[in-house]
Subunit: 327 residues, 2 copies
């Protein structure tokens, strides 16, 4: 559901109507049935919902099943308004979805956008959903990946202030991210011998230590260590020249050191639909790469394209993992 | 000249042969006549050079005049090799060019690429040429701008490690950069009432303080202060979404907080020729937006396109400034 005062319920409902999603999976909504019914009526969508308990979910249901979970306080929908109650409902939906993926009731989950500051006000003290899903699934750290067609970006650090990036970049972290990316490219994206480019942290990738030392002392050694583990990692490359020459096309994935270094090029790449994937977890979780978009919430004009792509990617990853297990 | 073991002399000489440059200005080379002669022979260029002292420069010369300045030690050209001597020659050329611009012998200058680490080894302890030119022209801090067609980026910080960015970002700095950009857009680019977009520093522009405070405590107040001075500044915008939606097209310039935040989108923008401009100085200085390219030095295959654009932009700025003075 995501934050019910944002565009989350709208794009979830709209995506269910798309032929691509109907073909890809059997969707189940998790959140408030009242909220979903509200938006079905508001946008006059041709959807028939049915409240269902987790233990009664059926693969044959003709209606869209909704698992209604949340705080005892009823949701109050005011599209465009940021409230703590909406975040509490969103948090309950995420928690239930993760638990149901861990116990294999669901094959995967797709999250709709939430507001970080509301989530924190509601005592979900995670920097983002990726971290929340990681923690709830019992894993310390997923690697946040952005996927747009063949353009795949992994992030070494994600939702932290720029002033904290350097202290988070350790050889251990980079090696772990490279291992996670390598595995996910093989298992989830079905790439036999993946090649990964690693970006530098500093301008000009530090220019031999003159503009920063992390490339020499941390990132370079991490690449060497990963290569000893037979991971085809290369770099560190200066980020501006790398993307300016479209070098990402020569690699199966790129490891960026921080949020904007990866997301600016991805969003500029011409692929208009990006999908967020939490790589390295036992469960499969994707999400659209945009926020709550409060300013257009409730207007019926939100595009479900990124949500649809997120559902398609989750379904593809589930398929690839299943195939690999049976090989 | 730039570093004579890089592609600097090659692209300087090639650009002089281009019709666009012949039309735009009367070029004078500053550096070693021996080096320039070496490359003229090596690449068999149809150019006739003539050593000339600064005080004897003539606007009617049929040959390309070369002001030969440098250390007493003769240059030793080994294309592709990084040497301190090459940096000493490059440093002397920059120094002479700046002084000759300040004393109005030249109308402007265009610098060829140097190696930062060699320059530092040669005791030119500047983070980059922008800073060196600023200091030599008697100004503490130029605003580095990247210009590619109508896409103009100003940088709040430039050649510093990512770990130092936050401590450099002050309200004073941002206001100064906005004032410099505003003036340069009017005086140098002939834009009557320029609109400037300001990017946030942190992911999602800090998301209301959750992912970093600089937007609330420094960048936001700086924009307010600039607006009180009648500068049409807007922001801070989350950088990834800003460029993802091509919002830079709605502004005359964008102020980025750090190197890669500005240069990744500029180099990906589809304009293949970027030019570097040191805005806010009394003298006019531009440069191509690439480095020494040691790996292809001496091969005759370097493209002079960015150099040619740098010369054209310098000439245009000189023209605009002159026109404004006479208005």
């Amino acid at each position: 559901m995501g934050d019910y005062n944002g565009i989350g319920p709208e794009i979830a409902l709209k995506s269910i109507l798309s032929p691509a999603v109907k073909k890809a999976c059997r969707p189940v909504l998790v959140g408030s049935i009242d909220v979903f019914e509200y938006y079905v009526r508001r946008f006059r969508l041709r959807l028939h919902l049915q409240e269902t308990r987790l233990e009664n979910l059926s693969v044959d249901s003709k209606r869209i099943q909704v698992v209604d979970v949340g705080p005892s306080e009823k949701p109050v929908v005011h599209p465009g308004t940021q409230t703590t109650l909406a975040a509490r409902w969103a948090g309950a939906a995420i928690t239930t979805a993760v638990e149901s993926c861990v116990s294999a009731i669901f094959d995967g989950m797709v999250t709709a956008p939430v507001s970080k500051s509301s989530m924190i006000a509601a005592r979900y003290s995670y920097p983002g959903q990726t971290e929340m899903v990681s923690a709830l699934s019992g894993h310390s750290s997923a690697t946040m990946m952005l996927v747009a067609g063949e353009f795949r970006i992994g992030l070494a650090t994600v939702h932290i202030p720029v002033s904290h990036i350097s202290q988070h970049i350790t050889t251990r972290l980079i090696v772990d991210r490279l291992l996670a990316l390598h595995r996910t490219l093989i298992d989830d994206f079905n790439i036999r011998s993946p090649k990964i480019a690693v970006l530098g942290l500093n301008p000009h990738a530090g220019e031999q230590g003159v503009l920063g030392k992390e490339e020499l002392t941390i990132i370079g050694p991490a690449i060497t260590r990963a290569r000893l583990k037979h991971i085809r990692a290369e770099g560190p490359f200066p980020a501006d020249g790398f993307f300016g020459t479209q070098s990402h096309r020569k690699y199966d994935a790129v490891l960026a050191m921080y949020h904007d270094q990866g997301l600016i090029p991805l969003k500029m790449s011409g692929f208009d639909i990006g999908v967020n994937y939490s790589a390295g977890l036992p469960i499969v979780r994707t999400s659209p790469d945009h926020g709550t978009a409060y300013s257009i919430a409730g207007k019926g004009i939100a595009s479900a394209r990124s949500m649809i792509e997120a559902i398609r990617l989750a379904s593809k990853i589930i398929h690839n993992r299943r195939k690999r297990r049976h090989d």
